[in-house]
């Protein structure tokens, strides 16, 4: 017979742990209990909700694509190159993780706004105005969510055995070929996990979006903004919208667990 480890949890740990669980789970339960189930369908099928949901999904997906295209190379530079000031660079990259999103929105406005450093030039040279457009939503979401992807992919790159890249070099592969044919496939689970995290963060983005992109139904009003607005006018609608976001988040989490997190864990 195999011995089992003593399973008792001391009370000073058990009580706070249970409180923590209650604290995290009760609000979500409350959402389910107070949901106006009978009004669910009429609410959901209203054009305003459909519009906000579609905009949220499209902009979060676009922000994730931009983050992958720019963030994976950045993660490679952080993990593999030997450039000077790499630790400073990493610190800068992670600033948006800890920065209040509203501050991020203000910063974006100062740079890309019509009077902004880059915005004024864009306006003059191309007649492009970014604030209060769907593009602004994608930019705000990318600003807030990309660090999640970069951190995740950098971790995967550090965990991956760099000697595979040595082996590729002895087989005639230059660094770009090695990246495409060896490194990227090796860290694919990490990239996928990072992309899902990034997408979920972008989907829930509120502060930077409302500051930089405003709140215009159809162009910049994403689900979180719609929820906030609805809460002031029609609390029932806010609950329904929240349920939708909750369902999307849970689906994402399940996808992560089954598809990528377990595989990424096995590979590491």
């Amino acid at each position: 017979m195999r011995g089992r480890r003593e399973a008792g949890v001391p009370a000073p740990l058990l009580v706070p742990a249970l409180l923590a669980v209650a604290f995290l789970v009760l609000p979500l339960l409350g959402l389910l209990v107070r949901a106006p189930w009978s009004e669910l369908w009429p609410q959901l099928s209203s054009p305003a909700v459909g519009q906000a949901l579609r905009l949220s999904l499209v902009s979060a997906t676009a922000a994730t694509l931009v983050s992958v295209v720019l963030g994976v190379p950045l993660a490679w530079v952080l993990a593999r190159s030997r450039i000077r000031g790499r630790s400073v660079l990493r610190a800068l990259v992670t600033v948006p993780l800890v920065l209040p999103p509203v501050v991020g929105g203000v910063a974006l406005f100062l740079v890309l706004g019509r009077q902004g450093l880059v915005g004024a030039w864009l306006d003059e040279a191309f007649g492009l105005t970014i604030p209060f457009t769907t593009t602004a939503v994608v930019i705000a979401e990318t600003f807030v969510a990309m660090p999640f992807l970069v951190i995740s992919v950098e971790g995967a790159l550090r965990a991956a055995d760099a000697r595979f890249e040595d082996a590729a070099a002895t087989l005639g592969a230059d660094r770009w070929t090695t990246f495409r044919r060896v490194t990227l496939p090796l860290v694919a689970p990490g990239v996928a996990a990072g992309a899902v995290l990034c997408w979920a963060r972008a989907l829930g983005e509120f502060g930077a979006t409302i500051t930089f992109a405003g709140n215009f139904p159809g162009t910049t009003q994403t689900m979180p903004l719609a929820v906030y607005l609805a809460l002031q006018r029609d609390p029932q609608a806010a609950v329904v919208l929240s349920l939708v976001l909750l369902a999307v988040s849970l689906a994402t989490l399940l996808l992560l667990r089954d598809r990528w997190l377990s595989r990424a864990g096995a590979a590491a």
Binding site: A167, A169, T170, L171, A173, T177, L186
Partner: protein, 350 residues
């Protein structure tokens, strides 16, 4: 193609400074303990590490010339490398792993895969061509790794401890196969190992490296018979005793005298094989010239015999049968008498 390399790399307090030359079709074994600089040499030859000084020339091509500012990147060198833990790419099939080097050098997919399959057949793993490396045993993976290194007909083949990750039985068969493939291979081979058996079985020549320097070079037979450092002597299981020749005897540096069969003079090494040392519970009768009191320090089973380490005026290693070991009642600390015939003692200049 022939290899001529002279390499200097500063590694912390130690400087690795190694000169090696390997002819066409020749296999050079670089033998040495961990941290001696063997892998550093291999990484410089492969182009994975820039040396602080030196030259690497393969055939007529200059791969490295630090003074002239030449450093050919790894992927532009015509070489094949086999790593200790095979490093087959886990996301590619065995065939695609072997075809990888051909593909990067511009061979089309079809011909590359055909050549890969042919090589997999040559190393005896043709039936595993469609598997992933994770589904292969250690021996199978190392065979596929050899195919991957040789498929592009490299000018230089580098083997980095190719057998040390394998279990003892697999190592035996893979070693024999490797020997056959090396005989067929026309380029130069550098084999890095810390296992003297690999060096003896596979190499035409051996250089022994300790602390970044070549301490001995020669044929495998010469190095194993006449070790020049304690490290090599211990590897090949000899007791190595430095001393001064005085005619028919050698006065050892550690004290004591050994009678030898030849006339010697000046600084010499005395090497004694463990199987030529006989042990007695008391001073043996008759008048053997080499008999010394000693004390057993350690005993380890070694095949069908027990290898006994002896301390005393003349430190020796003795192999005795398990029966003899029991009859002598040997235990650590037991005093014994050790004797060796003068004709069994090898003596050579230091």
């Amino acid at each position: 193609m022939s290899l001529a390399a002279s390499v200097a790399v500063a590694r912390g307090p130690m400087t690795v400074g190694l000169d090696v030359a390997v002819a066409d079709g020749e296999v050079l074994a670089v033998l040495g303990p961990n941290g001696a600089g063997k892998s550093t040499l291999l990484r410089v030859l492969a182009g994975l590490l820039r040396p602080d000084d030196g030259r690497v020339v393969v055939g007529t091509d200059v791969w490295v010339d630090v003074a002239a500012g030449v450093h050919l990147p790894a992927h532009e060198r015509r070489l094949g490398m086999v790593f200790q833990d095979h490093l087959l790419f886990p996301h590619l099939s065995v065939t695609d792993n072997v075809a990888f080097g051909l593909r990067t050098r511009g061979v089309r997919r079809g011909p590359a895969r055909a050549a890969a399959r042919e090589w997999l057949a040559r190393v005896g793993v043709a039936d595993l061509a469609d598997r992933r490396p994770g589904q292969l045993s250690g021996g199978q993976a190392q065979r596929a790794a050899l195919a991957r290194a040789l498929v592009g007909d490299p000018a230089l083949l580098l083997l980095d401890e190719p057998l040390s990750a394998l279990d003892a039985r697999t190592r035996l068969t893979v070693r024999a196969e490797l020997r056959r493939h090396l005989a067929d291979y026309g380029g130069s081979t550098v084999l890095v190992t810390h296992d003297p058996v690999d060096a003896m079985a596979l190499a035409d020549r051996v250089v022994v490296v300790e602390e970044g320097r070549v301490v001995q070079a020669g044929t495998p037979a010469d190095v194993s018979r006449h070790p020049r450092t304690d490290y090599v002597a211990r590897l090949v299981g000899l007791a190595l005793l430095p001393g001064t020749g005085e005619g028919g005897t050698v006065r050892l540096e550690g004290g004591g005298r050994v009678a030898v069969a030849e006339q010697t003079a000046g600084p010499v090494f005395v090497a004694v094989r463990p199987e030529s040392v006989a042990l007695y519970p008391s001073r043996p009768d008759g008048s053997p010239r080499n008999v010394w009191p000693a004390r057993l320090v350690a005993a380890t089973p070694h095949g069908s015999t027990v290898r006994c380490e002896l301390a005393g005026e003349v430190p020796l290693i003795a192999d005795v049968t398990a029966t003899a070991f029991a009859e002598l009642g040997l235990a650590p600390g037991t005093p014994v008498w050790a004797s060796v015939k003068a004709s069994e003692v090898a003596v050579y200049d230091r």
